[in-house]
Amino acid sequence: MKAKKKVVISTEVRRSKAPKSGKRAFPPVWSEDSGAGRPIGAGRKVETSGDASSRPRVETGSAAVADLGAHVVARPTMSQREALDRVDLSVDIAPQRGLLLLNPILVASGTFGYGVEYGEVVDVQRLGAICCKGTTLRPRAGNPPPRVTETPGGMLNAIGLQNPGVDAVIEKYGPIWQGWQVPVIVNIAGESIEDYVEVARRLDGVPGVAGIELNISCPNVGKGGLQFAIDKDAARAVTAAVRRATELPLLVKLSPNVTDVRPIAKAIEEAGADAICAINTLSGLAVSVDRTRAFLGNTYGGLSGPAIKPVALRIVYEVAQVVSIPIVAIGGVTNLDDVLDFFACGAVAVQVGTALFADPELPVRLGDELRAECLRRGLTSYKPLIGTALPARTGAPSAKGAEYRP
């Protein structure tokens, strides 16, 4: 039945489904001299055959490049502002259930609190989405200090999932999130499958909660978290259990601290996740100044920042070749080139984390820069940038998050 679904490349068709496109309604992209009244390729629908065994895929590799005609802006007379406005950055990162973001730049869990902390310096409404601090069933005090330290090109943190518990989070921040246009994705963590399920159940139906990011990969808590990310059967079990507990869009965040991430990603997809987030931090260590002990209160910490970008790229690249659900990339994004690299490796969206600390305005600026970059390349959507670096024919990534509609 999946195979019956249509793969649509037309930007117009997607636009018409985007609920928030009213104000920035997509202007027609045809030019007066175009006989058909639309640019070459626009509105062309690719129908997959009815063959049940063949998965519908959008060829986003070389095929997408050949399809650039569909995204050409043919109005040189337009003012720059209007031209920028018609670049479509919206993306649905959970196509089965619907989690539409106005742009593909999110802020990563743990670096943006609950979205209110940076409110005075960042226009949160212009973010693609906010992934809030890891939330557990019961309040957690977290690890003893010190909890963070800078490392070459990155930082180590061992917060230990300090949070007031899911009920307090819902009570305190739910009403605030409800008033926001920007979707808030609640990152959840637990020590057992029952914990995860219960947190998900309590979040289900809460106004202001747009989705769940399943944190099965926190390296900084003794029990729970990471064990679910290093074993494919455990990952499958927890994903499936949470999937049954909630109708919210479900993202699952992978750990890089594994030998081969692909079977785990595959298991998570099969268990019903809507999207995969990759990656969480790498487990690391720092030594105290007097070299008599580990520096961090928790001994181990999670490494993040530009230092881990190559690892994140590798994992996104691998995962993109085995799953067909959207991938949200995380790991060392500090500028537009990093964003484009992750797109090229198959991600449909990226999360900005550590770089926020130095530059809180970065995520909003990246959205603007991505828009300008699309315009510079003559694109009305960033979707053609996705998966261009993946090997052709060995299973191109899905751009389902981008292009696919049931």
């Binding site: 670096t111 609190g113 005090a141 003893p144 200090p145 963070v148 090109g153 300090q162 550590t354 809180p360």
Partner: protein, 284 residues
């Protein structure tokens, strides 16, 4: 809290390895209070991913000048010493909660250890401006590390202790405190955590030793909630705590110290705490 492009107007080395830099940043100079800090972005070409927090050393609303006092301890602070006059650096601030002076306090005791002077320096200005008497007790390793008295307001009494006895009292600065505890109405401190811990122990026993009346509401009345500005104002000792910091706005939960009511973010609930908010047994 806002992002400010602060222009460096003067940079000078006041002691070996210690610098005071003056920045033109009217937004910070008018909006900040003693005890608050700024989060400074250092050059990102050197692979530094975090900002550096600095106490606001002084702030002059009339000229729009704020100064920062720091020691070169790593690549971030070394980068700062190489910033040229006229260049702008990115600061986030003012951040954190300030020191609170009770309106009935006339005699203020400021205790600083080493770089801790940067934490209480602005409070001396505020107190002198308010017509209060100020004594600063300052502790350092040796005479060559002693903060120059010329950089302090004339009205301040300045007492120095050095660990090696090369200037002033021979020993820790905390040993000077008992002489002043009867005189002082309130005490404010910034410095190494062991020093603050010792001061907190002294402050806890002060009321019993002196038999002084408790400031604030009478027994039995409603008490101010722990961590509120009113509670800090009525506390005899306020301390400015230090911790490795990430975001500095309360989002990352990286910079906590353990308080009696659980983990406290130095950047949001602090850096200034009433001494009885901190679980001192957790501080080493």
């Amino acid at each position: 809290m806002r992002l400010v492009a602060a222009e460096l107007v003067e940079s000078r080395q006041i002691l070996p390895g210690q610098w005071i830099q003056s920045f033109h940043a009217p937004e910070l100079a008018t909006g900040s209070r003693a005890g608050q800090f700024v989060h400074v972005r250092t050059g990102d070409y050197s692979g530094l991913v975090l900002r550096r927090p600095f106490s606001i050393n002084t702030a002059d609303p009339a000229t729009g000048i704020v100064t920062l006092h720091f020691r070169t301890v790593g690549r971030g602070t070394e980068w700062m010493t190489r910033v040229r006059e006229g260049e702008r650096i990115d600061m986030l601030g003012p951040l954190g909660r300030p020191f609170e002076i009770d309106s009935r306090s006339h005699n203020l005791l400021l205790v600083a250890g080493g770089l801790g002077m940067a934490g209480v320096r602005m409070l001396a200005d505020e107190a002198v401006r308010g017509g209060r008497r100020v004594t600063i007790l300052f502790g350092a390793l040796s005479a060559s590390h002693v903060y120059p008295s010329s950089l302090l307001p004339d009205e301040v009494e300045y007492v120095v202790a050095t660990d090696d006895g090369s200037l002033g009292h021979h020993g820790f600065v905390t040993e000077l405190v008992p002489e002043y505890e009867a005189w002082a109405d309130q005490a404010f401190a910034c410095g190494p955590h062991p020093m603050l811990k010792r001061l907190a122990a002294l402050a806890a026993g002060r009321r019993d030793r002196l038999g002084v009346a408790k400031l604030g509401r009478k027994r039995g009345g409603p008490t101010d909630p722990l961590g509120s500005a009113a509670a800090r104002r009525k506390s005899f000792l306020q301390v400015s705590m230090e911790q490795n910091m990430g975001c500095a706005v309360g989002a990352c939960l990286g910079c906590i110290v353990i308080g009696v009511a659980g983990p406290q973010r130095v950047c949001r609930e602090g850096p200034v705490f009433a001494a009885d908010e901190i679980a001192w047994e957790s501080i080493s």
